[in-house]
Point group: C2
Chain length 436, copies 2
């Protein structure tokens, strides 16, 4: 009989201990820096949202099977946000009158979906969202694509490691109606089929296509169109091409930013034209890392002002898996740079004073709570990654001195107390590894 | 009839737009830095926890009236964490075998309580938590107190603005049993009464005390004891004093860090000895800003390893209210340092290239999505707080040049494209306000 409460986190959620958290913070910190270098301002919103904002637009799969819902003590029906886009559309609508459009916004919320936990899928994930609101210009698409590449570069990924595949639902609609010859009411079903294209065996795709009402001949034409990449665009009537933002980008100097791919659809109902997804190029691990698109009507759920949006959400799980498999994860930061060790209990306050002075120079400094053998403390300091220890002995302290010991070289020197901040900082600067 | 969805956030929760978020990030960023300078490592955990961890230990008020609960699609009973301490105790217990104690951990989670929204109270708040696990030494208390003062200093608060009031439940128990003469079974009721002492009128306190079973004479002795501050300690038997960590601190050189106050109790059941609260000293706005204490048994809910803890939680609402009322809030950062303006559409990619080069020098740089009148763009750049604009004209560009204009002075110069990063950085450095 176990009288203790279980210690594991709720299924599909994660605890992050300091070493892992340090890795995450370094990765996300670099991403925040790049996003802010593009002038994106960070926002945030509540994790609880009214249920109805997901019932109206979102993916049907999320609402039916993945939403965490609850009713508060006042009877309000709420959901834990499964994604950030409906929330940011709400916030934009609420503040439209005092914002100067276009605006660039980003956030890093935790989102919940009731999924069967498996590699790459959890129930609580963290997702960086970056969006531009208030402009239909293709320059938004181009900026988002440049931002994606800069973010990837900032965490060490080269263009050889990943590919930015894009499509345009307007173009896809044109392909499907003019080239494959489907009817407008089959569009949604066929789009959903394309979304599953790379995950299902061909035979299942054929069955599904037949169910939607595609003839064998139409299926063959669909198959050819989807495999032909950019060539399919040449077969489209010019009026269909001209309606597409993406087609104009593919005709511009920005075309090298992306690879056109009619297979990219994205599961969300709210995307209206450009959609894109970043894929790992590793043939054995080829998967979508993250994606986004343009949504022209989402803010319209909340307001009569038509405010278009474009953006993406980058989830933590697939991104960190990718970095790990590519050997790109940074090392955790050590928990302290310096440990100040008093050799007996009544020197604790002396040690605290020295530690305090070192902290004010920007160093991370600890002092032990209990007085133990000096050797033990030094080896513990070494183990946590500290590079310097300052040893406070009774006689030294009385004569205004302390011992500074470099843990890597083992060299040590007795120095006046006032000189400690300078000496310690110099030792640490000499040791600082060059940034790679 | 309104066919739009409501745009306000769920009652008692908040949207943070970029200017407000920027203020929050600066305040929290300074606090993180101080906490990390003490060697605390950041951790995180899920917002959903199993309901039972709150049912066992927490405040009864939270469980009965304030908890957000839900049942997942698999029938598990869950709660949105109302506070972080039970979660961190769980995580510590789960990883006890691979941690080297003592450990210093911090986090900044969002927590939910179903409260009636009012000044200082919301339903979703963000709380910085800092805790030390695995040591009973009074040096933990002292480090936590020093950390609190350093955190307050980092956000501009001086010791004249706030007071750190502490008590010890062991001492309080001693005062109540030996000086006031209550029985051990009255201890919990009287402690709860003391917790309300400063909020209720005297008459109500008398009635409540009578209900618990205190005589008139006992109430008078209680009243005197609570008002006498540190003097009451002199009346305690020395064996009661010796059991108290706090009494030893009050006898040490660290005594100036705190003010002893028998009125400090804290509402949580899990505190076992030291408790403390930071109060605004402003007489018209005297309120608790945040607090914490020592809890020796909480990890014991999850494990047979006795791992004591001490720490505090600092909520965002009262802290930011305090900073605002004291005029200590930082200004929001401007959304961009530099705006690169192409004067016609076909110079967009030139503008993007210049912007990119500037970003790589660490600046935040935007380019407009639409080509509008130059004057309009310059005035918009000025409004968002940019200090420099770079203007890309067709003839200049062809001859390898651009115009750099300083927005504060209005001065502008035509310069070669390669010199832009240097010139812009120099202009911005000259203007950078000295840190205060």
């Amino acid at each position: 009989m176990n009288r203790y409460l279980p210690t594991s986190p709720y299924r599909g959620t994660r605890d992050f201990l300091p070493p892992e958290m340090s890795v995450r913070q370094q990765v996300f910190g670099r991403l925040y820096e790049v996003i802010e270098s593009y002038g994106f301002g960070r926002y945030d919103g509540p994790i609880l949202e009214s249920l109805e904002i997901y019932e109206t637009k979102s993916s049907q799969e999320i609402v039916d099977r993945q939403l965490y819902t609850l009713t508060d003590r006042g009877g309000r029906r709420l959901a834990l946000r499964p994604e950030m886009t409906p929330s940011v559309a709400r916030i934009i609508a609420a503040n439209a009158n005092r914002l100067q459009f276009p605006v660039r916004w980003y956030s890093h919320p935790n989102c919940h979906r009731y999924e069967r936990p498996q590699r790459g899928r959890v129930r609580e994930h963290w997702q960086i969202n970056a969006d531009i609101f208030g402009s239909e210009s293709i320059n938004c698409e181009i900026e988002i694509f440049e931002l994606v590449h800069d973010m990837m570069a900032a965490i060490g990924a080269t263009r050889e490691m990943y590919v930015l595949r894009t499509n345009d639902r307007v173009l896809l609609g044109g392909i499907l109606t003019t080239i494959v010859g489907i009817t407008p009411d089959q569009l949604r079903g066929v789009s959903a089929l394309i979304d599953r294209w790379e995950k299902y065996p061909r035979e299942k795709l054929v069955t599904d296509a037949t169910e939607i009402g595609l003839t064998e001949n139409q299926f063959t034409r669909l198959e050819i169109a989807l495999k032909s990449g950019e060539n399919v665009l040449g077969e489209l009537p010019s009026d269909v091409r001209q309606q597409s933002q993406l087609a104009r980008i593919l005709d511009s100097t920005a075309r090298d930013l992306v690879t056109f791919d009619p297979l990219i659809v994205r599961g969300f109902d709210y995307y209206t034209s450009t959609v894109f997804e970043v894929f790992d190029r590793d043939p054995v691990n080829s998967r979508s890392l993250f994606g986004g698109g343009r949504y022209s009507d989402l803010v319209g759920l909340f307001s009569d002002q038509p405010i278009p949006g474009i953006g993406f959400g980058m989830g933590d799980v697939t991104l960190l898996d990718f970095l790990e498999s590519r050997g790109l994860l940074p090392k955790p930061r050590p928990e302290a740079d310096v440990v100040v060790i008093p050799i007996q209990q009544d020197l604790q306050s002396a040690a605290r004073a020295i530690a305090q002075r070192l902290r004010h120079t920007g160093l991370r400094v600890t002092t032990p709570f209990e007085t133990r053998k000096l050797g033990k403390e030094i080896s513990r300091a070494d183990k946590v990654g500290a590079r310097v220890v300052v040893i406070i002995g009774a006689d030294d302290w009385k004569s205004g001195q302390v011992v500074v010991r470099h843990l890597t070289t083992g060299e040590q020197q007795t120095t006046p107390q006032e000189a400690v901040p300078d000496i310690v900082n110099r030792l640490i600067d000499d040791q600082r590894p060059t940034e790679c």
